[in-house]
């Protein structure tokens, strides 16, 4: 832990940003010293990103920014004009955004993007600049800098392009670097390396302002943490203070919502969580469920299934010889990084894709072998929940119509008036008011949409739900609520869940058994606590090691 040195790189006092009459940042005060990493934590809409942008004079169109102090690199920029701000951007402050795929211009070679600050701020010759770009790419750990400089962001892997984005931000070695959700879209292993890279930059004396919704990420890097909510900083302190002894209930709620260390069955969102020391996972599991799981044949059985797709110049194997069983009332977690074949496996389970070899059976009966016409009546038994609920709704339909449509499948020919009643009931079950039925999904928040999606899945009275990254797009507290909801519903209805996620923490919290997928194969499977505690396969070991963990104390 570094302590603030004499002269802060950034000094902000009473920063306020308003859009029209709505104030979204309300009196934020903090400072960052050289070599220090300060993190702002908050959920979407808390004003953390607007704060970060305001520090670059880029709060956005139609915004009004004021502050009593806004000193960047020793220069007061409060009330500065665009020209003055431009001189500061890139030179005094660098910015790293989430997902370099869209944060780097997809049509320009990354070398040009990195070159931009050099061209704009420095009088350097072309060869000098080219050499500097090479140097920068090498310094962020790019394997082949010259090759990479000529690539466009879409032609690089997620980790490499994020490195390129960082290289562009530190091109002029700015004393302050703002990282706004720098690792959010990345796989765990990549995330760990990018965080290490940021830590390395920090160790060179650069001040870092880290913006994140993820306490686990923040915990790794930050010296001090500011918790933001509704435009205000409600709590601040050293990382140890905030994570170890949170004063504010909201902070405690945030910490509790992180699922990774919370055992199966313990709600994440509802009450004050106990500070877990060592919890016996199996103890918290309901004995009834275990009994069911043990005695019955698997509800869903995936048996030596393979699937390949034609790609230019050959075939791509998405799923290779995978076997997996889900029993009634059980949650099976499927973990893997992007591109590992998780989603293809989900589609195979749903009967949307037919396997090349192997077979999927439902309740011991053929499933993948059936033709669509025969399979159709049984489809209601398997429900699905997607990462992006909005795109899974017909944009023209209201929530009520969406639910009625699904409900009719569960029991065709039922009376329409009963449907209204059923819809209200479904909405209540997922924690929504009955009036939501009249609204269109577009007008709902992300969490509400996912609740509607769950309600739809339940409407058809399924026996098993395939959940493909159901919470990855949600804020941590919302994620906690959705996970709790799924947990409750499972308990009430005896549902089986195939829970697919890239997030080890979420899977650890949800799953009874875990299967780890890599490059189309299941490399390891077994009871959740065993796999995560004592991984056997090196890949699993690396996943577990790289997963961000909330470190307290």
């Amino acid at each position: 832990m570094t302590s603030p040195t004499t002269r802060p790189l950034l000094d902000v006092a009473d920063l306020r940003v308003a859009f029209g009459d709505t104030e979204v940042v309300r009196g934020v005060t903090f400072s960052i010293a050289a070599g220090e990493c300060v993190a702002i934590v908050g959920e979407s809409g808390s004003g953390k990103s607007v704060t970060a942008r305001a520090l670059l004079g880029m709060a956005g169109r139609g915004s009004h920014t004021e502050s009593s102090v806004l000193r960047v690199g020793g220069r007061e920029l409060g009330g500065a004009g665009e020209r003055e701000w431009r001189r500061a951007r890139g030179r005094d402050v660098g910015l790293i955004l989430q997902d370099a795929l869209v944060s780097l211009d997809p049509l320009r070679p990354v070398g040009r993007e990195i070159d931009d600050p050099l061209r704009i701020h420095e009088r350097m010759s072309l060869p000098e600049r080219r050499a500097r770009v090479h140097e920068l790419l090498a310094s962020v750990g790019m394997p082949d800098p010259d090759f990479a400089a000529r690539r466009r962001s879409g032609e690089l892997s997620g980790g490499l392009r994020q490195r390129a984005l960082i290289a562009a931000a530190i091109a002029l070695d700015p004393p302050l670097l703002i990282a706004d959700e720098p690792t959010t879209a990345l796989d765990a292993t990549v995330q760990a390396r990018i965080l290490a890279l940021i830590g390395e930059i920090q160790s060179r004396g650069t001040g870092i302002l880290l913006i994140s919704h993820d306490l686990a990420v923040v915990g790794h890097l930050a010296d001090r943490i500011l918790v933001m909510r509704a435009g205000e900083i409600i709590e601040s302190g050293t990382a140890a203070e905030v994570l170890g002894a949170p004063r504010e209930p909201y902070t405690r709620q945030l910490i509790a919502a992180v699922p990774s260390e919370v055992p199966r069955g313990v709600p994440l969102a509802r009450s004050e969580p106990p500070i877990p020391i060592a919890v016996d996972r199996s103890a918290s599991r309901s004995p009834a469920l275990v009994a069911i799981a043990a005695n019955e044949p698997p509800l869903l059985a995936i048996d030596h299934v393979s699937k390949t797709f034609a790609v230019p110049g050959g075939r791509f194997t998405a799923v290779e010889d995978v076997s997996l069983e889900v029993r009634r009332g059980e949650t099976v977690g499927l973990v893997g990084e992007s591109g590992s074949g998780k989603t293809t496996l989900a589609r195979l389970a749903l009967g949307l894709t037919t396997p090349d070899t192997g077979e999927v059976t439902l309740d011991g009966a053929p499933w993948s072998r059936l033709d669509e016409r025969t399979r159709r009546p049984a489809r209601r038994r398997i429900g699905a929940i997607y990462q992006d609920p909005l795109s899974s709704f017909d944009p023209r339909w209201s929530v009520g119509r969406i639910l009625a449509d699904a409900w009719n499948v569960g029991a065709p020919g039922r009376h329409p008036r009963t449907a209204d009643h059923a819809i209200a009931e479904l909405l209540e079950q997922v924690g929504l008011e009955a009036s939501v039925a009249r609204r269109r999904p577009l007008t709902l928040s992300g969490g509400q949409r996912q609740r509607v999606a769950i309600a739809r899945a339940l409407a058809a009275s399924p026996e098993i739900l395939i959940c493909d990254e159901p919470v990855s797009a949600l804020d941590v507290t919302i994620q906690a609520q959705i996970l709790d909801l799924l947990d409750d519903l499972q308990r009430e209805r005896g549902l089986a869940l195939l829970f697919i996620s890239h997030d080890l923490g979420v899977v650890a919290h949800m799953a009874d058994r875990v299967a780890v997928m890599q490059a189309g194969r299941i490399v390891e499977a077994g009871a959740a606590d065993r796999v995560l505690a004592e991984p056997e396969h090196p890949y699993t070991t690396r996943l577990v090691a790289d997963a961000p963990r909330l470190t307290r104390a």
């Binding site: 159709r376 489809r379 398997i382 699905a384 795109s391 899974s392 017909d394 944009p395 023209r396 699904a406």
Partner: protein, 293 residues
């Protein structure tokens, strides 16, 4: 013909970025929609009851009043035979809109058949239809129109058919694209997972969602069809005298551009006004259909 295709990109963008679009559209002046609505109402009135709006018989000649500039007696002036241009513009609304709407309808109907075949007919049919559409694209639109007219004789009917046919490949390509996009969308997948039949999914999800953007395209197509029919009139192959069709009026007035600007400006304004107002309204309706704004 297939500026429609260009439009398609626009609409894809609208669909893909519905929330952003909403924010943007909300900023557009509502007055625009109102004005467009009023204009379309005028057009409809002129189509249904032209007699109420005309100030005199649109075909009444009066050589002594030829080339009179706009005045209280003749709001839009008179043409080379002393006919009242305002009354002719009103009288021509029905014909012009009929040409525009029918041609668009023909193009759309052909496009729909081809698009549905390609979108739902399986790989082989899709391939075949796509090649056919490519062939039609490679065939210059105006030539197609010329051939139809030369074979079946000039006149509003053949001009309409000709314009309609030449727009068909553009529509077909767009409609196919719409179908393919919606067919592979997640809400169609969600409906499949619920166990809905193919026919029900097409009827309840694919068609309605595909047709909304196509409706917007069609509103643009109407104006464009009128412009194309006007080009045929310039070549002397469009509407036949004394029909007061806008394109024909524009073509006739071109000769006298230096003598009587009003002969072309007013019919021209009608075409432009029709294109803009139907487009504005079409977009507004599409937004309502999609549920944003």
């Amino acid at each position: 013909m297939s500026e429609l295709e260009l439009r398609q990109t626009t609409i894809d963008a609208e669909v893909a970025h519905a929330p952003r679009r909403r924010a943007r559209i909300a900023r557009l002046p509502r007055a625009g929609t109102v004005v467009a609505g009023a204009f379309v109402l005028f057009l409809l009135a002129a189509t249904v009851v032209p007699g109420l709006l005309e100030t005199q018989d649109p075909n009444r000649i009066s050589p002594s009043e030829a080339f009179d500039s706009p005045s209280l007696a003749h709001w839009f002036g008179t043409d080379e035979s002393g006919r009242d241009i305002y009354s002719r513009v009103v009288a021509g609304t029905g014909t012009s809109l009929l040409i525009g709407v029918t041609a668009t309808f023909i193009g759309l109907a052909f496009g729909l058949v081809l698009g549905v075949l390609a979108g739902f007919g399986g790989r082989v049919v899709d391939y075949g239809v796509n090649r056919l559409v490519e062939v039609l694209f490679a065939f210059p639109g105006l030539l197609l129109a010329l051939l139809v007219i030369v074979v079946y004789g000039p006149g509003p009917v053949t001009a309409t058919i000709a314009v309609g046919l030449s727009t068909a490949p553009g529509y077909a390509r767009i409609i196919r694209g719409q179908f393919v996009a919606i067919r592979s969308s997640q809400y169609v997948e969600a409906a499949r997972v619920l166990g809905h039949s193919r026919g029900r999914i097409i009827a309840r999800h694919v068609l309605p969602n595909a047709l909304i953007p196509i409706f917007v395209l069609a509103t643009l197509g109407v104006g464009q069809a009128i412009v194309w029919a006007a080009a045929l009139s310039y070549l002397g192959l469009g509407a036949q005298p004394p029909a007061a069709e806008w394109g024909a009026m524009l073509a006739a007035g071109r000769t006298y551009l230096s003598v009587a600007w009003w002969m072309t400006v007013f019919p021209g304004l009608m075409i432009v006004g029709t294109t803009i107002s139907t487009t504005v309204l079409g977009r507004a309706l599409a937004r309502r259909g999609r549920g944003d704004a």
